[in-house]
Amino acid sequence: MKLPIFLDNHSTTPMDPRVLETMLPYFVEKFGNAASRNHAFGWAAEEAVENARKQIAKLIKADPKEIVFTSGATESDNLAIKGVVEMYKEKGDHIITSSTEHRAVLDTVKVLEGKGKATATYLPVDKFGMVSPEDVRKAITEKTILISVMLANNEIGTINPVKEIGKIAKGKGILFHCDATQGVGKIPVDVQDMGIDLMSFSAHKIYGPKGVGALYVRKKNPRVRITAQMDGGGHERGMRSGTLPVPLIVGFGKACEVCEQEMVKDTARLIAMRDRLEASIMKALEESYLNGHPTNRLPGNLNISFAYVEGESLLMGMKDIALSSGSACTSATLEPSYVLRALGVGTDLAHSSIRFGLGRFNTDDEIDYTVEKVVEVVTRLREMSPLYEMAKEGVDLKSVQWASH
């Protein structure tokens, strides 16, 4: 076993060697511009791009023509939301989204609100982090032009009832955008069955290269139109100008193909490892709380709050394991995770959360080591915690008058 261990697969993933191998010829030998229509270099590049488009479309049950390449999911979210708001401004300006969306969605919506180009409703989530389709229905107004709800949450892995939301959107003739960055390649996605009109996802979350993503844009029933956010050569059916990064796209395609072929196997392995990690930690450490949905969540996700210890100190104690925390100390702002807060997790427990993100290349040995380390470090830090001491003495921490600073 090699240290450090990477258990932060929601942030990014290592590239699959099979993906890298597929990409290599497209740097030096087959370097053509896919938009060059009149020579062999261009044709080879175009062929590679179209092949990748097919591989990507197949994974999400779309038509290859419905795939628009972007630089990543953040750009896809921006393009989808700003593009729809601009294109359909005659129809209305209201957006429905949820409070646990990724910042790429929330901040985009907030910017549009700030500029007076849109109004928005931010739906709450239940204690597991799920959006209620009924809430979506109730939030719809005559001015609603877009519903944007994520497939699976990046912190807690909770999977939303996207199909039900898609059905409601369709029934009302409202476009449905889904940020599926954490879900595509991990769980089955079918844009037809789920009633999705626009969908963002990226390659580096599924063992592909960084710097490339896609926006699925439905072509019929309805034919979705978006206003381009960048002017230029009119690539990607006029929706996203810019020379296509052929090697990245080839890698993206291959990554999707591998995910499609190995999803069943990967999922079974990940769930077994994740459940073992969860059970072992919970058994060894009292007052550890699971954040998110107990079953309806991404196979590789495990988010736990360890009462009485602070997240960043936990990460520091486990420096040979790459993890992430909802603690404020790990973010630029002074607030702990807004996702955990939206679930109703107390600020104190939000500060104490750790996200384990398992991926294709983690091993059983790594899980064993992680369990051992987590138990050791949480125990040590609890010994050091005045809160743990007080709780052990029977003090109700909620009744204490804290001298806040």
Binding site: S313, C329, M384, S385, W402, S404, H405
Partner: protein, 132 residues
Amino acid sequence: MAYSDKVVDHFNNPRNMGSFKKDEEGVGTGMVGAPECGDVMKLQIKVQNDTIVDAKFKTFGCGSAIASSSLATEWLKGRTIEEAQKIKNTDIVQELNLPPVKIHCSVLAEDAIKAALADYQKKSDGALTDAK
């Protein structure tokens, strides 16, 4: 964020971690911060003849908060009450090489020192009044 070697050292080998009994004679206890803010420090001093002979801490917080309080106990030992009052958060920032986002940890440590000293003084004043 990269931690300074000194923060890492205090985090891995905390000095004077633990507790005194609060009602023990000569013990002053300071508890500052709040769980909602992500850091709570408990700092205790044991005083004999106006000199701090021992100090202990327990901290819920990030590595820098733990290091700041650990360092504070080291500095408190052997000082008189008057000398202890002079410990400033900026001294802690300098010693631990804390980055700007972690300065609040040093402020909290200074507050904890002040609170422990105040508690000791309140207790000893009370003892004097009782004696009269």
